[in-house]
């Protein structure tokens, strides 16, 4: 943001990156959902549920009765792929072309309509759920959704095609071992990771020269009033679970209560719960320490702010995944799964990762970026290719079992930020 700064794609993505600009797009999404609710209301004095039969509340094999082998057998490759993704999330050259997609088209003959239409999970979910409820096409063959309640909802509602892993051998062979069966989608039956990120802590070393190493450090009174947390209760709730020594995946309501107690101790020190803008606030010194996404910190460091440091707290770190899904109403599922398979090669994942700089789902891409693309800054960054020891400390978000579980979490954790 300061003048004379070398603008690179990472910076541009950091500025416009949609994970951090949830609020701005909510108004539009609200209007869409509101119109949907109103029309339903006028029709029947009720709002249609997304899963009225209550089928498959535990996730897993969501679309119960479907015989997926014959489902896949009945589908043909159509030569078209409609791909919905987040902005600045794929390699883009100065002409706006995507080399990875063009190579894919050359090799397979599948033309890709790549659209950067997903601004954040809640509003995109609000946009597609009325169509998927009615079994209508949303015009996309691949969508990218973050693990969390919306992903769980999509899988539970039976809106994600079960993937035929025999059609994506590269995934099985090259994906990071931890991605073959993530906690939110056992066996990776419905999802394939697009990018991974870590939620840890970041601090401005000009303001905190001594550095911090743990969540417990946040309680130090000298940082009071200079701490930023995410406003997403999954983020700060998960952090508090780690800080109180619980395992997110197996945490119980007792653990949640303890986590809320810990957060209430921390709360007087918190300056703000951010849903966007925390990167600017850290750089400008408005806050000294913040919860932070690894990719954002990499972008800040590359964008001329080496004083911003990322910390993997000693208590653990949260890892999240943005996942490719094939919507149940997709018109070109074979083309979609062909892309998923193609993505999981060191070359394709490497080209995209060299631009994205989050965490690559294909570990072998590191050598490709180092030796073929000659970009050691990305390849050797512990933020893009974290060490096995770092990743061993990482835990995924708690996976909500059903709506009641999600509501219970919200009822406990919402009052922390809503005060």
């Amino acid at each position: 943001m300061t003048s004379g700064e070398n603008i690179n794609p990472e910076t541009i993505r950091g500025l416009t990156q949609s994970r951090v600009s949830r609020r701005m797009f909510m108004k539009g999404a609200g209007a869409v959902a509101g119109a949907g609710a109103l029309s339903a209301l006028l029709a029947a004095c009720g709002v249609t549920g997304t899963n009225p039969s209550g089928a498959n509340p535990t996730g897993g094999n969501a679309s119960g009765g479907t015989d997926w082998t014959s489902w896949w057998a009945s589908k043909k490759q159509n030569g078209v792929l409609n791909f919905a993704n987040w902005p600045y999330y794929i390699d883009t050259d100065s002409n706006g072309k995507h080399a990875s997609l063009e190579a894919f088209t050359k090799k397979t003959g599948i033309k890709v309509n790549y659209k950067e239409v997903i601004q954040d999970d809640p509003s995109y979910y609000a946009k597609i759920s009325p169509l998927l409820t009615k079994g209508q096409s949303i015009g996309q063959d691949i969508i990218v959704i973050t693990d969390g309640w919306y992903l769980t909802e999509i899988i539970n509602n039976g809106w994600a095609v079960q993937l035929d892993h025999s059609r994506m051998p590269n995934f099985t062979a090259n994906a990071d071992r931890s991605l073959l069966s993530p906690s939110y989608d056992p066996g990776a039956l419905h999802s394939a990771v697009w990018q991974t990120g870590l939620t840890g802590l970041a601090y401005n070393s000009k303001k905190v020269p001594e550095g911090i190493t743990s969540f417990a450090d946040l309680l130090d009174p000298k940082y009071a009033g200079h701490i930023g947390l995410f406003s997403d209760n999954t983020e700060y709730g998960s952090m508090a679970l780690l800080a109180t020594g619980a395992q997110t995946a197996t945490s119980t309501h007792d653990d949640w209560n303890k986590a809320v107690e810990w957060l209430n101790k921390l709360k007087p020190s918190v300056a703000k719960f951010y849903d966007q803008g925390y990167t600017d606030a850290l750089q400008n010194g408005d806050i000294w320490i913040s919860q932070a996404w690894s990719g954002d910190v990499y972008q800040m460091q590359q964008g001329g702010h080496p004083e911003i440091k990322f910390v993997l707290p000693t208590e653990g770190v949260i890892t999240w995944h943005d996942n490719m899904l094939i919507p149940i109403t997709a018109e070109n599922p074979v083309d979609a799964i062909t892309w998923m398979n193609y993505y999981y090669t060191p070359e394709t994942a490497g080209i995209i990762e060299d631009y994205d700089a989050y965490i690559c789902p294909v570990p072998a891409a590191k050598d490709y970026i180092l030796n073929t693309l000659k970009d050691p800054a990305v390849a050797n960054s512990p933020l893009v290719f974290p060490s096995a020891a770092d990743l061993a400390k990482a835990q995924e978000y708690y996976t909500y079992k059903n709506l009641a579980d999600y509501n219970a979490w919200n009822a406990l954790f919402d009052p922390v930020a809503q005060s």
Binding site: V47, T48, G225, N284
Partner: protein, 287 residues
């Protein structure tokens, strides 16, 4: 024959407008708030009036506090827009030559050429701890090292005042512009002082402009979640943000609709009382 039907046709247009854009949304909101259910199994109309006591009495989130905060921010911002906007409108209406009026009014509106979110975002930069304003204040020792504007109620109210100033200036300007300046001479002829000219003549005649300004600014600022989200901090969470959160993140449409209905009713009562106390007899002058 034809002449007789004209008033009815005109009346029909107005009524259709009111029904379509005011009555239907209001009733729809009320009906959704009386539904129960959840997003998965759907919402059914069950005339669940207890939602209104649930959100204020039995909720673990303090919605009453957020409502109070929103009303306070909105009222303060509205007052500030009057204090700043009235002299501005007065200056443009009476103190400049006619050929400067249009350029000056254009200057009042010019900030609307830029998206309101971006304008607000720029204040985040300007008011930041290392931003130009605080750095300057610190360099002349008017502000301590821990002095902060962002994250305070003052920042939120300031943002709302800044963003809505034009909505107050324009109606007041329109009201002032219509005043026949010979009335000032008349007041003076009756031995009125400058003070009396203003308080006995100008202010009463511009009351309709102030009222329209209050309508627009107060309603807009009380429901606004954006200034609080961008400029506020941990202690500025307001009602608009709560409604947005209930709607999109929690997907509790009934709760969100109940909160919106409460806000509508609160605003309605406040504006009704205001209109009764100060009168609206000349608001139609503006139409």
């Amino acid at each position: 024959m034809r002449r007789l039907s004209v008033p009815y046709l005109l009346g029909f247009t107005g009524a259709a407008w009111l029904i379509l854009f005011f009555l239907i949304p209001l009733i729809a909101g009320l009906i959704v708030s009386l539904m129960s259910g959840d997003v998965a199994s759907g919402y059914r109309l069950t005339w669940n009036w207890s939602i209104y006591s649930d959100i204020f009495v039995n909720s673990n989130v303090n919605y009453a506090l957020f409502l109070g905060r929103s009303l306070f921010y909105g009222a303060t911002a509205t007052l500030l827009t009057i204090v700043i906007g009235y002299p501005l409108a007065y200056f443009i209406a009476f103190r400049v030559s006619p050929r400067w009026k249009t350029p000056l009014l254009f200057l009042v509106l010019i900030s609307f050429l830029i998206s309101f979110v971006i304008r607000t975002k720029m204040w985040v930069f300007l008011l930041g701890a290392q931003g130009p304003i605080i750095s300057f204040l610190q360099s002349i020792h008017l502000a301590g090292p821990d002095f902060a504007v962002l994250g305070t109620p003052g920042a939120v109210i300031g943002g709302q005042t800044y963003n809505d100033l034009a909505y107050m200036v324009l109606p007041i300007y329109v009201a002032l512009e219509r005043i026949d300046t010979r009335l000032f001479e008349a007041t003076e002829d009756l031995y009125g002082t400058k003070r009396a000219v203003f308080f006995k003549t100008i202010l009463p005649l511009s009351r309709s402009g102030i009222f329209s300004g209050i309508l627009i600014v107060f309603i807009d600022t009380v429901g606004d979640p954006v200034n609080a989200a961008l400029l506020g901090g941990r202690n500025t969470y307001n009602f608009g943000e709560a409604i947005q959160y209930a709607y999109l993140n929690l997907q509790q449409y009934n709760v969100a609709a109940a909160l919106s209905t409460v806000l509508m009713i609160a605003l309605g009562i406040i504006l009704f009382v205001y209109a009764r106390v100060f009168g609206t007899e000349n608001i139609e002058d503006l139409v």
